[in-house]
Amino acid sequence: MDLTGLLITLIGIIAFAVLAPVLGCFLAGIDRIVSARMQGRVGPPLLQPYYDVRKLFEKEGVTVNGVQDAYVICALIFAVIAGGIFFSGGNLLLCIFVITLSSLFFIIAAYSSRSPYAEVGAARETLQVMSYEPMVLLFAVAFFMATQTLMAPDPTMSFFVAPGSFDVGAVFSLDVPVIVCIWPVFLGLMFILTIKLRKSPFDLSMSHHAHQEIVRGMTTEMSGSTLGMVEILHWCENVLFLGWIGIFFVWGGPWTILIGIVAALVAYFVEILIDNNFARVKWQFMLKSAWAVALVAGGINLAVLAFL
């Protein structure tokens, strides 16, 4: 990476660190209001997630051990870096690896408490990572091949010199959005998005709904400011994952970003709808279905792109 590239990424990270929590907070507020309306309730004020987090930071500082906070902070930092890489048009693969690292830190944070409930949550989160990761990686590969297909329609070009790219920014040099040739991957990604956004039926490791939770899953031993940071982490992740959805619909001009945003919001609404209509499933079903979707949607899509 050259120096300007590095600088752009740095600016992206700083911008993401400032904007993502704000956006994510509003998204969470909208989520709660929409959920409430779906259940025939009025729901909390839009800024309720903000009040919650402010309250959590006001709480007395109690922690089971010193390292848990450090792990959660690391998870937050890496999530912000991943978001910065993505939204500054950086390398998609790198973004995926960094956000996975963030998930791993969060899992270690839960394990570090040695509480049986938190450990159940952490073990389940590990299963969730196992479930969604194949599809996420296939998404990156498909993105590369899609840019390759759309950039170099010239069949005389050999496979190795075709200018495919993992760079998110590459979509701006395309004539059509990548979704036209990787829509099965998009559907697969939508499927695992439910896991990534921690929505029912795949909120196995920690649920926002107390009635379907064993104590509180991964966050059982986290309280006060630690829990507040987990909330902020969740907001940042949501913004990043909706960005992944949006990028499918962006091409040529900068105005197409608007289409991406609309698509991401529609996807978010669909996720809320799913969240409110399904009860939690067993992990076996999650793992099998996520892998089946990855194999069918991702595998066939990649095969078609590679051989046609």
Binding site: R41, E60, A210, E213, T220, E221, M222
Partner: protein, 148 residues
């Protein structure tokens, strides 16, 4: 300004109630009354909760459990005794195993009488509890500042 009162998360524990009050507590938290309008969320984890709703009296068996939950909650915290059993022992006050109201085990901030306690009373009690919560949060803040 303290934010504690804007997001009172509750935890519910059934001491030795006849379940009448429990059902009323759950009714209070159900969509009909929509406690989430005021930020009320039901949690299953004492470490996340701000308001402790206890139904039923304390007895030899559960007094340790009640204390344990209370100790696990993080300051600022408020205890609401729900139902006359939780306030004073109520109809069970002279049973051989009953020690008395919840205040025999932990400090209680708000007493919500009734047999069974009505959701309206409970909402009033939680609102009163929120005021106490805010007060405690302010105090904690001042203490923190004093130490710094």
């Amino acid at each position: 300004m303290a934010y504690a009162g804007k997001s009172p998360w509750v935890i519910h524990y059934d001491g030795s109630s006849c379940n009448g009050c429990d059902i009323e507590v759950l009714a209070t938290l159900c969509p009909g009354f929509d406690g989430e309008r005021f930020g009320v969320i039901n949690t299953g984890n004492p470490k996340h909760a701000d308001i402790f709703l206890v139904t039923g009296s304390v007895n030899e068996q559960n007094i340790d459990v009640v204390r344990q939950i209370y100790d696990q909650m993080i300051e600022p915290k408020v205890v609401v005794a729900c139902g006359i059993c939780a306030c004073s022992g109520g109809i069970f006050h002279d049973c051989y195993n009953v020690i008395g109201g919840v205040d025999q085990a932990i400090p209680v901030d708000v007493y919500a009488p009734g047999c069974a306690v009505r959701p309206e009373t409970l909402i009033d009690a939680i609102v009163a509890g929120v005021a106490v919560l805010d007060e405690k949060a302010e105090k904690l803040k001042a203490e923190k500042k004093g130490r710094a």
